[in-house]
Structure formats: C-alpha cells, structure tokens
C-alpha cells in the first residue's frame, strides 16, 4: 500500500524537479498522440460524415463493422503494424519500425473506428429539419458538410476525446512498434510498464499520475473551447 503514497510524492517531485527522463517521455507521448489524433481526425471525420449522412446499400453492416473495430485489442494492432513495418515486411524499406511515425500509424488505426463511429452517430442524430433547412437555404455540398459538422460539433468532439483517451493510454502498440527505446520511443505508458517490471511500483504510480495530469490539461482546454463556441 505504501507505494501509492510514495508514488504521489514522487509524481510531484518528477513534475517540479524537471526530471529529464520523465520530460522526454511526456514530450514523446504528446508528439505521437497529437500526430495520431491529427491523422485519425483528418481521415475519420469525412468518413464518419459520409457514413452518417448518406443512405446506401450495406450501410448497416458497415456500421456494425466500425462498431466492432472499436474493440480492436492494442497488442493485436501492434502485431499487425509490426508485420508491415519489419524490415522483411512489405513497408520495411521505409524504416518506420522503432520510430514515432510508426507508433502513430498504429494509434491512428486504434482511433479511427471511434472517430468514424461517433461522428456518424452525431450526424445521424441531427434532426432531419436541419438538413432540409440547409438544403432549402441553397447550401452546396461543401456548405452542407461543414454546417452539419458544426451542428454536430459536440458529438464529434466527444468522439475525439474518447479516441484521445485511448491513444494516450495504450501500451501494446507503443511497446511492439516503438520498442520502448530510451530517449527515442519511450512513452509514459511504456515507461510505466518498465518501472513496474523493475519493481519500482512507486515510480509507476507517479508516471500514471503524470499521464492523468496531462489528460486533465487536454480536457480542460477542450471544455474551454466548447464554452467559447
């Protein structure tokens, strides 16, 4: 039990004392999760909009597929991405294994179903009135897309936050694709796994609290943006 209290104190010391290894892990976590979120939002929002907005044959099975993929295990994604990125895999010559973009590819796969699924739900739940109004006001396709997204922004934002939470806290992909290399690809979560393996439970707890503090900061700025709009 005492390592919990110990962890709380260590967390404060790590954050205030400027521990180089901790800051490196924080920076790496922020860089890679930001990159993954940018990619998954850029790809996921248009796809989610299409899935929610248009009627087409096979739409229901596609929704079921997207919802199922939300349950993708991270270690499985890690293995999948590894199979492509290893030097003997089809994308091996890009040298992405053990790099941050490599991890970001895996995390994008992790986040995409969540972004697509929740965007689609948000668009679907817009009242039919909104669409008719937009069309009757003479909106073209681009305006229809942007205005619908604007109306559904809170739902889309919730999807993005849920996806961000998963990306920030996953360990399977970072470990398998990143390799937990000190100063290079060691994220907060792989550092937690390492410290726990080393028996430094207090340090593991401390890093967990650091991660929680970052998530708190991100959500605080998101809710600030939400109030502004």
């Amino acid at each position: 039990m005492d390592f919990l209290l110990d962890g709380l104190m260590q967390a404060a010391r790590l954050l205030t004392g400027g521990d180089a290894e901790t800051y490196s892990a924080i920076m790496i976590t922020l860089q890679v999760s930001t990159l993954s979120m940018l990619c998954s939002l850029l790809i996921g929002i248009p796809l989610g909009f299409s899935l929610g907005h248009f009627e087409f044959p096979g739409k229901r099975p596609l929704r079921t597929l997207v919802d199922t993929l939300m349950a993708l295990p991270t270690v499985f994604i890690g293995l999948l991405v590894y199979a492509f990125l290893t030097h003997r895999g089809p994308l091996g010559h890009f040298g992405l294994l053990f790099t941050l973009p490599g991890i970001a590819i895996g995390q994008t796969i992790l986040a995409l179903p969540i972004v697509i699924g929740l965007t689609a739900t948000a668009i679907e739940s817009l009242e039919e009135k909104t669409r008719v109004t937009l069309l009757s006001l003479g909106a073209n396709r681009r305006q229809l897309f942007l205005s619908s997204l604007w109306e559904a922004r809170h739902g889309v934002l919730s999807g993005a936050i849920a996806a961000y939470g998963r990306v920030m806290t996953e360990v399977g992909i970072s470990m398998m694709v990143g390799g937990n290399i000190k100063w290079q690809t060691r994220t907060i979560t792989t550092a937690i796994a390492l410290e726990t393996n080393k028996g430094q439970f207090g340090m593991g707890v401390a890093l967990g609290l650091v991660l929680l503090a970052i998530a708190f900061g991100v959500n605080l700025s998101v809710s600030f943006l939400r109030r502004k709009t």
Binding site: I28, Q31, L194
Partner: protein
C-alpha cells in the same frame, strides 16, 4: 479564430519538433536484448562508455530472448545480447547470426519461502526439482519463452522429469522476472530466477524479502550471456560495421572490467568471461 491559430501553431510545433532534432550525426547501433541486462541498469553504463570509446550511440529494445531472436531474424536490429545458448546456436546455424561471442555470466537460483515446506535447501538442482514434484509444491514459472523459461524447461528435462505443464501446483505467469518473483512471494511459491534480478528484488525490499535463495551453485545453473551480430548476408540493411565494432569492444579488456565492476547493493551482478 485567434484561439484556433494558436492551437494550430502548438500542434505543428509538437509534431514537427522531433523531426527537427533528428539531425543526429552519431551513427546508431540498434540492439535487441533481454530484460535482465536493461532492468539492472548495466546497459546504461555500457552504452555511455561505448559512446565515449567509439563515438557510436547504442540504442536497445529490451524483451524476452524469444522475441529478441525473432527481431534479429526479421532484420529489425543489428545485434543481439541474449542468454539462451541452445537457441542462439540454432539461430547461428540457421544463418541468421554470425560472430557469436560469450560476454559474461551469472547464475540461476531457486528461491522459495523461508519455511521451505518441500525441503530443498542446499540440494542439487536435480534433487530439488524432484522434491518439488513429489511434494506438489507451488512452483511459479515465467512461461514466456524467455531465456530463463527456456533454462527452466531444460532443467526439468535434465532432471529426468516431464515439464509439469498441466499440474495444479505449476503456475505460468507469462510475465517478466520481477513480476514473477512478486507473484511467487504473494503465493508463497518457489521460482527459478537469475541472481541479478533477485538482488534487485532484495534491494527494493530493503534487504528483508519474503523469499530466500534455497538452491544455488550447481554447474547446471550457469546463466551465459552472449552477443550475436545479425548476418549481413541474411539482412542487407543491417549495420554490420558498427555491430562488429561493438563486439570487439565488449569482449575487450576495458569493457570486461566495466562489467566486473558493475555492482548493486555492493554485490556484483555479472562475471565477465569473454575468451580473448
């Protein structure tokens, strides 16, 4: 709108940041190794000395020996530092690795609860395993295809016993050495561990661990670490020159002395034994 511009700028900086300082001039040697060399802190020491001596940056990913060999076979690293001699020899014979050199050793021990219900204290490894089996004493195994797990399987067979895979007293954790020791301690069981990790465990518990060393010193319990260079004929992309330099350095007198002087709680963790 201003807010979004600022947010956008921050995003760009965090994403592009790593790209900017990637311009490292030092050549990089990539190693796959086992958790014991990393968890004890030995590699941190070796890497900084190697950098001073050769101007080469050593980076490593620490996993079990099974995965490390697999990473080597798939050409993802330049060099291996592992501890499963039989599997290593197969690896070299299959043409995946060359220039295998022994670097250092420590030994395995069987730890168990102070009470020692199966009464294995001071026995040979063969007698100890037989006693565990007869008494159905709880044994906690790594079960993860690591060097230590391979050693344990070998020891059961060497003692003329079948591996007690399905027995209720045989628990497989599938986790690292320290986690496995912790599980053994919680459940008052016996386990096979390398001495280095046990010393580390002892250190974190301020010298008052619930598990104690019961069986050690048997020649069969030797734990040999070796380095293997990935065969450039098998993997065209590997950094053969750097790997070769590292091997020459680690079997040399300076690095061997460094390994011998590496201590935790005043106890040496590894004994250098590279043949010149």
């Amino acid at each position: 709108m201003k807010l979004f511009t600022i947010a956008g700028l921050c995003l760009c900086l965090t994403v592009l940041g790593p790209g900017l300082n990637l311009a490292a001039e030092e050549p990089v040697l990539m190693m796959a190794t086992t958790s014991s060399t990393d968890n004890t802190g030995l590699l941190d020491t070796l890497a900084s000395e190697f950098r001073k001596a050769a101007g080469i940056e050593l980076r490593w990913t620490a996993t079990g020996t099974g995965k490390a060999l697999r990473l080597g076979e798939n050409c993802d690293v330049d060099i291996l530092m592992v501890h499963a001699p039989a599997a290593e020899k197969e690896f070299v014979e299959a043409g995946y690795g060359i220039r295998r050199r022994e670097v250092m050793h420590n030994d395995f021990v069987i730890t168990g609860p102070e009470g020692d219900l199966a009464n294995i204290r001071g026995k040979s490894i063969r007698e100890a395993l037989t006693a565990l089996r007869t008494r159905s004493a709880l044994f906690v195994s790594r079960g993860d295809n690591s060097g230590t797990h391979k050693k344990e399987l070998f020891l059961w067979k060497a003692a003329g016993l079948t591996v007690p895979e399905k027995e209720s007293w045989y628990v497989q954790t599938g986790q690292g050495m320290l986690s496995t020791i912790h599980i053994a301690a919680e459940r008052q069981g016996y386990t096979l561990t390398d001495r280095g990790t046990y010393i580390k465990y002892e250190a974190t518990l301020q010298g008052n661990p619930p598990l104690t060393i019961l069986t050690d010193g048997d020649p069969a319990l030797m734990n040999q670490y070796s380095v293997i260079q990935i065969n450039p004929e098998h993997c065209a992309n590997v950094n053969a020159g750097l790997a070769r330099k590292f091997i020459e350095w680690i079997v040399g007198a300076d690095a061997q002395k460094l390994i011998g002087n590496f201590k935790l709680l005043g106890k040496p963790l590894f004994t250098p034994n590279a043949k010149p």
